[in-house]
Amino acid sequence: MSKGKVAKDVMIDVFEFPHIPYWFSIRQAIGIVKKSLLGSEKCHHPMAVLVFDEKYNLLGTLSLKDILRGLEPKFLKPTTKAQVPSEDESGLSVLWDTLFDKGAKEAAEKPVSEVMVPAKFFVQPDDPITKAAYLMVHNDLALLPVLENKKKFVGLVRIREVFDELSSSILEG
């Protein structure tokens, strides 16, 4: 398919994204997001922070959504549904509003490792772009790490480049 393009042809540099260690609190991560993502003119899409361990191995990614989820009180977390019709629970958000000031500040002291999305899926530099697309679609990811020899973190594939490549071949066809 698409002229044999592979992950390394479209990946972007890891330093395009802010880095933090896993022991940072959500509060510290929010500070970084505000300074490095929201307040910067660099084009970061999707908006995410990369989380590393003490030896600079990638552990996971932290998006704005993950941070908000981390601030949410426990009782609002979705429960696994049994075979019952789902109900609209958006009314429950009122509860969050009344508890926000106190609860969210407490929750912000949790380490980011508790709310990040662990880096479970990845591609190798020579993997075809379709593999990246497959993993992103099936696991609801906007960002996919590229690891060399399953170990060395060399770049990131974003959904926009994957889309751009695959959609071009449709239009050209």
Partner: protein, 243 residues
């Protein structure tokens, strides 16, 4: 009144720092007096809170100002001696008495400048930094906890260097060609954090000695280092040599 100039290439907080320093020098802000609040300073100089805060923090660190929780910020009597400037050659911070010590690397990774590290290292807020954390032990007893922040672009390969057995200064100077030309040391007694208490095996109530060091190569600051020492048993030794 001195004002900030937005067309000036100098960062706002540095301009503010100089303005505030002059106020202290000219005794417009006298020793012991309370300076205006951050909000008031924002209004006076028509700037946002971040540079005002950064300038104040810097002056607190340099010993011009003192913050008192819930009360405000006050002008200090200066206790920093600047008369000790010498042309020196210096060595890595050592533990006294020639004891053999071992080093444990706790972290060698990349981070963004968190809290006020951007001010301490004088780098933009979105700059990637190498973060090193090492624990020095003497006869298996932890005595010194050292954290260093270095702009990543200066020596990206430092992430893979062996910093357990090699001197960090030697790597920076010899391998990366960054000649250290100036060091500023700040020493104070602090209440250690929970993490520091645990790593150094301190009891809860003791204070610990903090040495903060800013390293420069020419006009560029290349490293900010923070060393926390257990109060008993060992002394810091920083060697100066007049050339």
């Amino acid at each position: 009144m001195e004002l900030v100039h937005r067309e000036n290439s100098q960062k706002l907080y540095i301009q503010l720092e100089n303005i505030f320093k002059n106020k202290i020098g000219d005794k417009k802000w006298s020793v012991g007096s309370q300076i205006p609040t951050e909000e008031e300073l924002c209004k006076i100089y028509g700037v946002s809170k971040a540079p005002v805060r950064a300038a104040i923090l810097e002056l607190v660190r340099q010993g011009y100002l003192m913050r008192q929780q819930g009360k405000g910020t006050f002008v200090c009597k200066r206790v920093i001696s600047e008369g000790l400037l010498m042309h020196t050659s210096f060595k890595e911070l050592m533990l006294d008495a020639g004891v053999g010590f071992s080093t444990k690397v706790l972290a060698q990774t990349v981070t963004m400048p968190v809290d006020d590290i951007d001010v301490k290292l004088n780098v933009p807020e979105d700059k990637h930094l190498i973060y090193l954390k090492r624990l020095m032990l003497v006869e298996n007893e932890p005595v010194l906890l050292q954290e260093a922040y270095i702009p990543h672009h200066l020596c990206p390969k430092l992430l893979r260097d062996n910093i357990e057995n090699n001197s960090l200064f030697e790597l920076i100077e010899k391998k990366y060609g960054l000649k250290i030309t100036k060091v500023k040391d700040y020493i104070e007694v602090v209440t250690p954090s929970a993490d520091e208490i645990k790593l150094l095996g301190l009891s809860d109530c003791t204070g610990a000695l903090l040495l903060e060091q800013n390293f420069y190569s020419g006009d560029t600051q290349i490293m900010y280092m923070r060393s926390i020492k257990k109060p008993e048993r060992f002394r810091f030794l920083i060697e100066f040599e007049r050339k």
